[in-house]
Amino acid sequence: MPASNLSFIVAAYAVTWVVLLGYLFRLVRKGARARAEYEHAVQERAGGTR
């Protein structure tokens, strides 16, 4: 039945976008945090009196 299939087609594309965007946001957040920690560590080594 094409009509009931529609919900599955929609679900498939929805799941695809949820996963792709979800992973994208995870990477962006992780990236920001990693970069911040990196800058911090670089500053510590450069500026800190060790």
Binding site: I9, T16, L24
Partner: protein
């Protein structure tokens, strides 16, 4: 320690845009088919996701072997990044396979060759990532994951073959997923678009891995009373 290069934001925007464009094209141009209606449209996301999964695994294999050969840390980080991205596409492939299967076969799961071997592959990915999570020493982690990654990848074709035999000897073949030629163009476009997303994801994940490793290095140096 030199900063790892930033992953281009434009690559991200461009690749996602390409996916939108490819999906739109495919949905609008593909004809309805028999009693399945438009169900085959799911193939535009399911098949490329599967291809990206296998491609990721191939990258894991190549860089695992490279790491064992020349012991460059970046090779290990790239393999690990490809594994995480690959696991994500693997999960997506499984979900989409199930969503297609429910109306096509009437059930959420069948032990058919492709679905089952994709599931086993997913477990191999998960094992690889778990190993990395449970080993603290960076060099040991790199060596061990490279060995596990290479040996795991070696098993992928064997798993697929054995599951296929297991199925064909006992059940009639499941509904063939051969695609109408009318679908080929749309499929190719979606595959290329998703490939761009894959490249973006792996590069971004790799950038993060290198940043984290650099921070780890700094901490190690500080702990040893470094300069």
């Amino acid at each position: 320690m030199p900063a790892p290069p930033r992953t281009s934001m434009w690559l991200g925007i461009g690749s996602f845009g390409a996916v939108i464009a490819a999906q739109t094209y495919a949905i609008l141009t593909s004809p309805a088919e028999g009693d399945m209606g438009h169900l085959q449209k799911i193939m535009y996301v399911h098949v490329p996701a599967a291809w990206m999964t296998f491609l990721s695994f191939f990258v894991v294999l190549v860089f695992s072997v490279l790491y064992l050969w020349r012991r460059r840390e970046n090779d290990d980080l790239l393999a690990a990044s490809a594994a995480e991205v690959g696991a994500t596409f693997n999960g997506l492939t499984l979900l989409l396979g199930m969503i297609w299967g429910r109306p096509a076969w009437g059930v959420w799961w069948v032990w058919d060759a492709r679905l089952t071997s994709t599931l086993v592959l997913f477990l191999i990915f998960v094992g690889y990532l778990s190993l990395r999570a449970f080993v603290d020493d960076a060099q040991q982690r790199a060596r061990w994951s490279a060995a596990v990654g290479a040996i795991g990848a070696l098993n992928v074709p064997i798993v697929y073959m054995s599951v296929k035999w297991w199925r064909t000897l006992h059940q009639p073949p499941s509904s063939p997923e051969t695609l109408d030629p009318a679908y080929t163009m749309g499929l190719r476009l979606n595959a290329i678009a998703l490939l761009l997303v894959l490249i973006y994801f792996i590069r971004k994940r790799y950038e993060i891995a290198r940043l984290e490793r650099a921070v780890e290095h700094a901490a190690e140096a500080a702990a040893m009373g470094g300069r």
